[in-house]
Amino acid sequence: MELWRRAANPWGQDVLIGISWDLMWAAVFAGLAFTLAHAVWAKWLAPAASTDAGGGSSGAGLPAQILRHALSERVFHWVMSAAMLVLLITAFAPVIGIQFAWVTIHWIAGLILTATIVYHIIHAVFWQDFWAMWVNKADIEAGLAELSHMVGRNGTEVPKAAKYPIDHKMFHHGASVSGLTAIVTGIFMMLRIDTWLGAANPYLLDITDSTWGVVYVVHGISGVALFGLIITHIYFAIRPDKWWITKSMIYGFIGQDKYVENFDPNRWAIPGAAPQEERVPAGVGASLGSDDAVVGSSDAAVGSGDVESGSNDTAAGGGDLAVGGGDAAASGGDAAAGGGDAAAGGGDAAAGGGGAAATGESPSDSDDGLNESEAAS
């Protein structure tokens, strides 16, 4: 298998000109092999459900439907997905002999993808909790426990997840790195083609043939990496046992039962959720479970586009809470995070609660939890 395509430039120098299309097939093979292996494992080899490590919700006080993805997030996801699929199809279909005028469609889809990513970055930085997608110690511990359970160590305690489990976060980061790399290199490559934005000028930046070769190779590698990632993403999206989470990207909601079954309310707080185990230190995030508590749903905090009334450190209230907690919606601000009479701890605690809301992490029984909250807030 070849990794690169090379050629001699007019000066006789050996230069890269792009990736070998063998890599495309390698990505397809890797993606399909992974999905096949997972499907076999899930069907015949998967151990029984893991032991609950605690942290679950009783479901008391929870709405029947819990908002997981606000409308703005869903629109972003599907527009980005469509752009990504168009990019992959226009990039690789011609390679396998499906011929059409792909270049124009490709760069237009690339610009759409770029616009969605720019929107997402701005949205995540200023209206969502940027660190909600960050992998923290609790995620790593949960991931290791899950792996341990998957390889047959029954009895392993697998903590319930935050709003975004570690596998979601890892996919997000893999796709982010690949996607951003493809975007940056792709924008440079647009200098080499005529577009509605201007005529081609491959010599604008005085980039050498060998440097252009690196740009093409990096673009190609990020493309095939996305190819493999998207194969696995689509596989998990259409798996029957994951369909409920896929539907949440369509309709926005998950059922209360799924929330109770899969998520730790101390890590993804929903207004009205009553943790089975009270592991929250007094004064921090104590508002959880309080009827009139307004610990922001992480939907709200993580930034539903609908929720922009809340301040950054709580971001509570708004449309999400209206769904999740009815009139529990608060106007934001520190007090909202603390919420009513449960807002024990005053300003600091409230800020901590807000952080918990924002990250979907709980200031739990560990110092880490507190740190996370503080960091988030």
Partner: protein, 301 residues
């Protein structure tokens, strides 16, 4: 088939891959040569030599735009060996590409012919997509003007395409000049009788009067009725990476009395959107005037 004439060792990276493959295809699909009359027009085997096309009495009588084009190709010696199918299927003459540079068309990621310092006097003024090379076929524009159909045979059977669709756009596949897929062969050219004995015009512009590739060719077929242009087909080559049918110019002249002014108007429309390179802006004027001459010729005819 004729494209093997375009093969010498230095061009080994170009189509077809090797002579043996081509011979095997000929064995499989048979060698179609000669001109045959059919109820719908004529069929010309792709292996018919250019001399036979140029000298064929029936073609000369009914489709003189084609015989005119064939007689302008290369030299008598080459026309004796070269075939119609080969002329249609030959690779581009861009010397950056022919010189073995790793350009887009050769699988690379650069068009050296569009560089600011490139020598691109012969290259295209429209239709480029990264590659600015032009199609070199002299007969292509004539066959497009005649509304010819190309018969392609391959392992999946036979398919028939319009002449202008035989030529690949670089936006679709930058490494090929035709739509032929591996294992396919252009076997026959069918010319419908629709345009038999029409008013034809063909002109080839070249740097010297013989044995040269065209800077541009134009071919037109016009049906006159009552002094006005009833129907028309106009095609040029040498302006884009593929032969171009000038449909907008056709619309301008259809139903109107041919004249020099009308030709100029059509030529102006035909060149709209042209984007010259550093050294080939003259092609815009050239194309405008060739269209003008083609229309004016029908008035004189």
């Amino acid at each position: 088939m004729a494209v093997i004439r375009d093969m010498i060792p230095a061009f080994e990276l170009f189509q077809p891959t090797n002579v043996e493959d081509t011979i095997e295809l000929l064995d499989r699909y048979g060698e179609d040569r000669g001109v045959r009359t059919t109820p719908d027009g004529v069929e010309i085997g792709a292996l018919t030599t250019l001399t036979n096309v140029a000298d064929h009495p029936e073609l000369t009588a009914d489709y003189s735009v084609l015989t005119d084009a064939a007689s302008h190709i290369a030299t008598p010696q080459i026309r004796n060996r070269g075939t119609l199918g080969g002329n249609l299927s030959q690779d581009t003459r861009c010397w950056y590409y022919r010189g073995g540079w790793p350009c887009y068309r050769a699988g690379g990621n650069t068009c050296y012919a569009s560089a600011p310092t490139a020598m691109n006097r012969e290259h295209c003024i429209s239709g480029s997509s990264r590659c600015v090379a032009v199609n070199p076929s002299d007969s292509a524009s004539a066959l497009i003007a005649l509304d010819a159909k190309f018969v392609i045979r391959g392992s999946r059977g036979e398919r028939v395409v319009d002449a202008q669709d035989y030529f690949m756009r670089p936006s679709v596949d930058i490494e090929r000049m035709t739509i032929l897929k591996p294992g396919e062969l252009l076997t026959t050219i069918r010319i419908p009788s629709t345009w038999a004995k029409a008013t034809f015009y063909y002109e080839k512009i070249e740097d010297r009067k013989s044995w040269d590739f065209a800077l541009m060719t134009i071919a037109s077929a016009i049906r006159m009725s009552g002094g006005v242009i009833q129907d028309v087909r106009l095609a040029v080559n040498g302006v884009a990476p593929f032969p171009v049918r000038l449909e907008k110019a056709e619309q301008v002249v259809r139903g109107r009395t041919p004249s020099d002014d009308l030709g100029m108007e059509a030529g102006t429309v035909a060149t709209e959107g042209a984007q010259p390179l550093r050294h080939n802006a003259y092609k815009i004027d050239l194309m405008r005037n060739l269209v003008r001459r083609a229309i004016r010729n029908s008035a004189e005819a």
